[in-house]
């Protein structure tokens, strides 16, 4: 199974400590634009920098596959809500026939949604990877819940859609 993951979702997966595990069940693809964004983040001196460096390490040894996508292939998808990294990820999905795009950015997801639907690409958030790891028996539901709660806190998503859905998930699964 192949997935394309944008910059912020890669950082989310690495923050939850599941990026390397996710490579056991899926092939992760990124674009050269995403790689450039990661390099920029890695140059800062904060928590995200450490995460970006870890992701780049996986890309440098080929565990995460980086594909060059020319600007001309994705510039038509750029908008106020869609940056170059996200646009290049959609272009990669289309060019390589990859039907899953992981992005946590609500603005970008909505803006790219119609094209994605037309191209039969499913847009998911990083939680989808956690659910797949549970199915594969790599992590438990309890561990996944803890990771989601920690991500919500780290990204200041408290009180948002994801927190409501996590609470619902806990309730439904009696965790």
């Amino acid at each position: 199974m192949k997935i394309v993951v944008d910059t912020s979702s890669l950082l989310s997966l690495e923050f939850m400590g599941i990026l390397e595990d996710s490579l056991k069940i899926t092939e992760v693809y990124i674009t050269n634009t995403v790689e450039t964004e990661l390099k920029e983040i890695a140059s800062y001196k904060d928590e995200k920098s450490r995460l970006a460096k870890n992701v780049l390490k996986l890309a440098s040894v080929g565990k995460i596959k980086c594909i060059n996508i020319k600007n001309e292939a994705f510039s038509k998808y750029l908008s106020r809500n869609v940056d170059a990294g996200e646009a290049s990820c959609l272009a990669l999905c289309i060019l390589e026939n990859i039907s899953l795009l992981i992005t946590d950015d609500a603005d970008a997801a909505y803006s790219l949604g119609i094209i994605a639907m037309h191209e039969r690409i499913n847009i998911r958030i990083c939680v989808a990877v956690l659910m797949e790891l549970i199915k594969a028996g790599i992590i438990t539901k309890l561990e996944a819940t803890k990771k989601m709660k920690s991500l919500i806190k780290q990204r200041s998503w408290e009180g948002g859609v994801l927190e409501v859905l996590v609470m619902k998930y806990i309730e439904e699964n009696e965790i």
Binding site: A106, C126, I134, Y169
Partner: protein, 95 residues
């Protein structure tokens, strides 16, 4: 306590900034400070309202029409779309 912030901007925007500064009899810095202050305050307030509305919509305590009344059509559509893909992510994983 204040901190210095430096940034680069395209020439045409700088020209507009200077034009505005002339008209308002203010310095570049004053215009930029005011703009950043207004934008950040407004944006954070908006995010809080959006979050609360999105939460209540996801909990089923607000209908889509009510969400539209609060956030406007485009923003409400965005919240509804995000809720859909998030629910699919929980339900289907990567399938």
């Amino acid at each position: 306590m204040t901190q210095m912030l430096t940034f680069r901007e395209d020439e045409d925007i700088i020209e507009k900034l200077d034009e505005l500064a002339r008209q308002k009899m203010r310095s570049r810095s004053e215009i930029v400070r005011g703009a950043v202050r207004d934008y950040v305050t407004h944006k954070l307030e908006l995010i809080e309202i959006q979050k609360l509305a999105a939460k209540r919509y996801t909990q089923g305590k607000l209908s889509f029409d009510e969400l539209v009344n609060i956030l406007g059509y485009e923003e409400a559509k965005k919240v509804a779309y995000y809720k859909d893909i998030a629910e699919e992510s929980f339900a289907q994983g990567l399938s």
